[in-house]
Subunit: 351 residues, 2 copies
């Protein structure tokens, strides 16, 4: 009936050799151990015939490595963000023959600890700790190296490496898009700014994007006309902020701090009979799905979710394969470039 799994011993018996020999052959060290050609063949053949597969639990118990890593995130659902993150990690892992445990904490530190523990209980080779949006986090008690912070920084000094989107450079890119289209006046910010301190609490993206925007604009000798801080970055907030703006000013270009804000801005602009990009250009960040759905399609600086996930796995394995202790903590944050997706929402200023 329920045919038991075939074990190494089974294969050895059927091939008429000892478990040791079978083990050597099947782990590719047959040559090295100078097993005779035909014996090796015999083992390989029978293993193939009976569909032998090593029990990874057993191997793990014996060798201490399970070819398994844990991916602990504060969310796996909201926005496509986590999905692509996981996808990138998954593919990079698969290329190494590694499987992923997924855990979700919903921001509950207690749950986070339990999850990390549950993964160590299963002897994972390492852990990726991911945040939904870039920010500084408190490391869960019990988290040990090898581990990588994805889209997050440790609040307290820590030897753990971080993988982050290059937000400052993204800010520069957004500003550059406008500059290159010829904009110098009437550039307004939706979501944060204009001053360095005008950012929603807790987020890293806002301050870094703002920093990049301000720097690039300043280098070109142009100043931001205004900025509006939004606590939340949802469409309704963009709608409200832009509506308020339009009551007192006539912008030529908007930098929205994310695509959902931009969606709201589009709605406000439409309400005032303004055209994108003829009357006002719009640049944004994230490259949400909606960015390519709305009309005109939105020019935006993408968060490279997929690449971030991949990179995290790469860095984790660097960590796992490392013997020496690590060095300069500053060399430990890896920035992943944020590409700009040029679409239809930017045009030269109307004269």
């Amino acid at each position: 009936m329920s045919s038991r799994r075939v074990t190494l011993a089974d294969v050895a018996r059927m091939a008429g050799v000892s478990p040791t020999t079978a083990s050597f052959v099947l782990s590719g060290r047959g040559e090295e151990m100078r097993i005779s050609r035909d014996v090796a063949d015999r083992v390989l053949k029978t293993a193939e015939k009976v569909q032998y597969r090593p029990n990874i639990l057993s191997v793990g118990l014996r060798t201490g490595t399970t070819r398994t890593i844990g991916f602990v995130s504060d969310t796996v659902a909201t926005s496509r963000f986590a999905g692509e993150l996981i996808k990138g990690a998954l593919e990079a892992a698969r290329e190494r023959g590694v499987m992923l445990f997924i855990g979700e904490t919903e921001g509950d530190p207690q749950l986070e600890r339990q999850l990390v523990q549950a993964m160590y209980d299963r002897q994972v080779d390492g852990i990726i700790l991911a945040a939904m949006y870039t920010r500084a986090i408190a490391l869960p008690k019990g988290l040990a190296t090898p581990a990588v912070l994805l889209n997050a920084l440790s609040k307290r000094p820590s030897p753990l490496p971080s993988v982050l989107p290059d937000e400052p450079e993204a800010g520069r890119s957004a500003a550059r898009v406008l500059l290159e289209a010829g904009h110098r006046d009437g550039i307004h910010l939706i979501g944060a700014g204009p001053a360095r301190r005008d950012v929603p609490a807790g987020g890293v993206a806002a301050v870094e994007r703002l920093e990049g925007i301000r720097a690039t604009l300043a280098e070109a000798g142009v100043t931001v006309a205004s900025g509006r801080l939004c606590r939340e970055w949802e469409p309704r907030d963009g709608l409200a902020a832009t509506t308020a703006l339009l009551r007192s000013a006539r912008p030529r270009a908007l930098i929205c701090f994310n695509d959902r804000l931009a969606l709201g801005a589009y709605q406000a602009l439409a309400d005032f009979g303004l055209n994108v990009p003829a009357d006002v250009s719009v640049v944004s960040f994230d490259d949400d799905a909606i960015a390519s759905w709305i009309r005109p399609a939105l020019t935006t600086v993408a968060i490279p979710h997929y690449d971030l996930g991949r990179r995290a796995v790469d860095v984790l394995f660097d960590e796992i394969d490392r013997d020496d202790v690590r060095t300069d903590p500053n060399a430990r944050v890896h920035r992943v470039p944020m590409p700009v997706r040029e679409r239809e929402s930017v045009a030269p200023p109307s004269s």
Copy 2:
């Protein structure tokens, strides 16, 4: 330095008892085995003090159960779909102290087989095989019970249970929303219909939704004014189909087969200067994020991603805990209700 994990033997030694006794106490069978109160306490105390955690690999090797299940999906990224699916599964699993392996096949049967194998190699207790959109799939070779099909049916007869959204009833719901608002004329379908055969290839949702719509409308004695089949269900397809429709007719209500189509329909309606819902009502399916972002917010019948994920692990554990042989194969498809999200896109027909 790297303080070795503490083992059961360590605890036993420190508590001055045998590993057996410690095992009994720590697995909660102390009472049953009638271990003396103080011995039990001693074991518990030391285990607590040294933070003892059982090595699940060992337990798995010994008992054959790993408190781990595999979740194999054709995609984890596209749309919020997979995210919520996984989230539901994750939470249900966590409540049972079970961890999830995630795998993504991208529709590659070869990869699917490998993934399923990799999970069996790790001795998972069961597997959830999920599809991104509802359809009939070929079972990967080597997939054995216990397993559950999520959002999918087996092409060939199989003893595996399926968990599916209740699409026929969703179709009825959509029709009912319109009927209850007083619509009887000028109801047009965007994405499929009007006849039973007018559906895109491969999808189950289209035929079942259409079936429900037609049945409910027919029962009320109303007939569909027209239907337009779209091969793809993206915003541009909805835009094209609705634009074509508007050139030849003046609809009072639209049933769009998903929210992305509806977004396109909104755009076409706007192009023709038509108002939602004053001039034409719109109902749709899926409850994508955009459904609540666009204006007016879209009334739509939600795919209960989260509930589907939860239900899948419930059914999987029924399967795992089952001793007896299975029953009626028809009793093996579990339908999860699709709730309608009433928002602002439906109004009584204008007179």
